[in-house]
């Protein structure tokens, strides 16, 4: 009886949740990232419309995020004493450009990417954040994080905020941070699945499952299979001789996530526990004795590696190219920068979602402008949403 009460209580909660925001209709706020609102629409649109420009408040936040320190009295006074809003905006934008040219900006970007990548603070683990920070400082392309084929392990000099390109030296192919030895070592695990999860969450901004079909399939489990890949595209003891049953349906539907995961993991499974590339798969399995994984554990014969269903990737360079071409990856990059600027916690860990409408302007500019990171950061820090309170 007590359990039944719990069922009703939680089900009631689940049903009540959609009503929690009192959202009676479509938003009427602008889709330019300004969020200026028109004063019409629901209570949230009205709240957005009531915000006012405050360039001094924005300057303080921007200074703390972009330089790691407070604005000077001169910087505060020049904006505070400006005669009108247009002048304040002009002075503010110029100061953002100034902040982003300082060595301290490079240090802040390194810190941002360490947090984003969840690794760093030692020479061994800092090279991936350093590459991303270098791109952020030098206005490099975000896509280089997946495609750069040289100088992928730069060192950073905090004294002057400069980067010195260097090769990673861990052997094998070279594709941005996807082949970074620090990443491979930090996220080493059974089957290399932790590396796949890192790629998915950092660059696609969602947990698995990553691919969801509109037409779920009954596979004899407690719930339907919702993946887009054929159910038999991954291995199990009865499907290609895999030693782990990725087609298990007795608890959860493993294939919902593993159809995607198993098509990516073999691409990065040749990196060993130290992040060095080997000529054979060098990650263990969770079987007795931890034997090394084999390709047949992931995929049945005839299946090939891929970034997504319909987007094959024969090797890591192919994986990087596919990610660079994926609009969802670019959108994720913009969303992460947006959340950083606006002080949000991690977009995946704490579900700080950014609706597409909110960053549509920045995403379009990012995609059409060559995925330039510094341009993106400037655009975010000078957006109406950043300077309105």
């Amino acid at each position: 009886m007590r359990k039944m009460s719990l069922v009703f209580a939680l089900a009631g909660t689940a049903l009540a949740v959609p009503a929690c925001s009192n959202d009676p209709g479509p938003a009427t706020g602008g889709d330019d990232g300004s969020g200026s609102g028109s004063g019409s629409g629901d209570e949230w649109d009205q709240a957005l419309g009531q915000r006012e420009y405050d360039y001094n408040a924005a300057l303080k936040i921007a200074a703390l995020r972009l330089t790691g320190d407070l604005p000077t009295m001169t910087e505060i006074n020049e904006i505070g004493g400006a005669a009108d809003l247009a002048t304040k905006k002009s002075l503010y934008n110029a100061r953002i450009t100034d902040y982003m040219s300082r060595p301290s900006y490079a240090k802040q970007m390194l810190a941002f990417w360490r947090d984003t990548f969840k690794l760093g603070e030692t020479a061994e683990f800092d090279t991936a954040p350093a590459l991303a920070a270098q791109l952020s400082v030098q206005n490099g392309a975000y896509t280089s994080l997946f495609t750069a084929n040289a100088g992928n392990c730069p060192t950073f000099n905090p004294a002057d905020g400069t980067f010195t390109p260097a090769e990673c030296g861990n052997g094998g192919p070279v594709a941005g941070v996807l082949t970074n030895p620090g990443v491979m070592k930090q996220f080493y695990s059974n089957f290399g699945f932790r590396r796949v999860r890192w790629i998915q969450e950092v660059f696609d901004c969602t947990k698995f499952p990553a691919e969801i079909s509109a037409t779920p399939t009954d596979v004899g489990g407690v719930s339907p299979y919702t993946g887009v890949w054929p159910f038999n595209s991954i291995a199990s003891p009865t499907n290609g001789g895999g030693r782990v049953n990725f087609q298990d349906v007795s608890a959860v539907i493993c294939a919902n996530c593993h159809t995607t995961i198993n098509h990516i993991a073999p691409l990065i499974a040749n990196y060993d526990i130290d992040g060095k590339f080997q000529t054979k798969i060098s990650v263990p399995t969770p079987l007795d004795g931890s034997p090394p994984a084999a390709l047949s554990d992931y995929l049945p014969a005839g299946e090939t590696t891929a970034w997504r269903f319909g987007t094959p990737a024969a090797d890591i360079a192919g994986l990087g190219a596919a990610m660079a071409a994926d609009p969802a990856v670019a959108t994720c990059g913009v969303a992460r920068m947006w959340n950083w600027a606006l002080g949000k916690t991690d977009i995946v860990d704490t579900l700080q979602e950014v609706p597409a409408d909110t960053i549509a302007t920045q995403v379009t500019a990012f995609q059409t402008g060559g995925f330039k990171l510094k341009d993106l950061i400037y655009a975010v820090y000078t957006s109406d949403d950043f300077v309105k309170f």
Binding site: L6, V7, T13, A14, V17, P18, C20, S21, D23, A27, G29, W44, L48, N56, L59, K60, I61, L64, G68, D69, L70, T72, M73, T74, I76, N77, E78, R114, D115, T116, K118, L119, G120, F125, Q186, F208, I212, V222, T226, V244, D248, A251, V252, N256, P286, W338, L342, G343, K344, T345, V348, T350, L351, E353, V354, P355, T358, I359, D385, F389
Partner: protein, 223 residues
């Protein structure tokens, strides 16, 4: 099985709530703990995430993403940034004296939510009880140092080279000093709060310490 269904129901509800509420949920992530292993099922792998109760609480308090994504949140000041702020306010963060501001800062990494990259944990930028408490302790300990040093801070000199001043000879608060502390122009409300704090304290020296610490706490609870 029953528990799984309960969590599933809850998960569907959450998915609907975090997105545009007029759209159906498309999140089929298994509920936290559903991929834990046991004697009869598959291998253990963690899929834990944000607590659904925390998420519901956040949505109720802050509003839906279509609103919150447009506005600033209240992240704590990063640990490294807090060190820079203290330094730029004249605090010696290398001070080894027990319970000095520098000592509290340097030993406060865990309380302040510093990153633990060895365990794949980024810096926590959420405001936590422990983090805010430690930060306020640091500001309280730093007040005397700040009061003594504001006049010497290059950062707080205006374009004409005039230093900031926190208090006049009658211990009334001055805008330049408050602006230096806060990083934004001092408002009348700031000055009123500062003056009232001093006047209502047991003595002016104590009042000045409390005023400086309290304004810093208010200004830097959020970055």
């Amino acid at each position: 099985m029953k528990n799984f269904l309960i969590l599933g129901l809850l998960g569907v509800g959450l998915g609907a709530c975090t997105e545009d509420l007029s759209k159906p949920a498309d999140d089929t992530t298994p509920p936290a703990g559903a991929t834990s292993g046991d004697q009869t099922t598959t291998f253990d792998h963690d899929n834990s995430g944000i607590s659904p109760w925390d998420l519901i609480d956040r949505l109720e308090k802050e509003g839906p993403p279509k609103y919150t994504s447009h506005v600033h949140s209240c992240p704590k000041v990063r640990v490294a940034t807090l060190g820079n702020v203290l330094t730029s306010l004249g605090v010696n963060i290398g001070n080894a004296t027990a319970l000095s501001a520098g000592d509290l800062y340097r030993s406060g990494g865990n309380a302040l939510g510093a990153a633990n990259f060895a365990n794949r944990i980024r810096e926590n930028i959420g405001v936590s009880t422990s983090g805010a408490s430690r930060e306020f302790d640091i500001f309280a300990a730093a007040a005397d140092e700040i009061i003594a040093n504001v006049g010497t801070l290059e950062r707080c000199k205006d374009a004409g080279g005039n230093p900031a001043t926190l208090f006049d000879t009658s211990d009334a608060c001055l805008p330049t000093g408050i602006t230096c502390l806060l990083g934004v122009p001092a408002s009348v409300a700031h000055l009123d709060f500062c003056n009232l704090t001093i006047q209502n304290a047991s003595d002016h020296a104590t009042g000045k310490r409390i005023a400086v610490a309290a304004m810093l706490a208010a200004a830097y609870t959020c970055e």
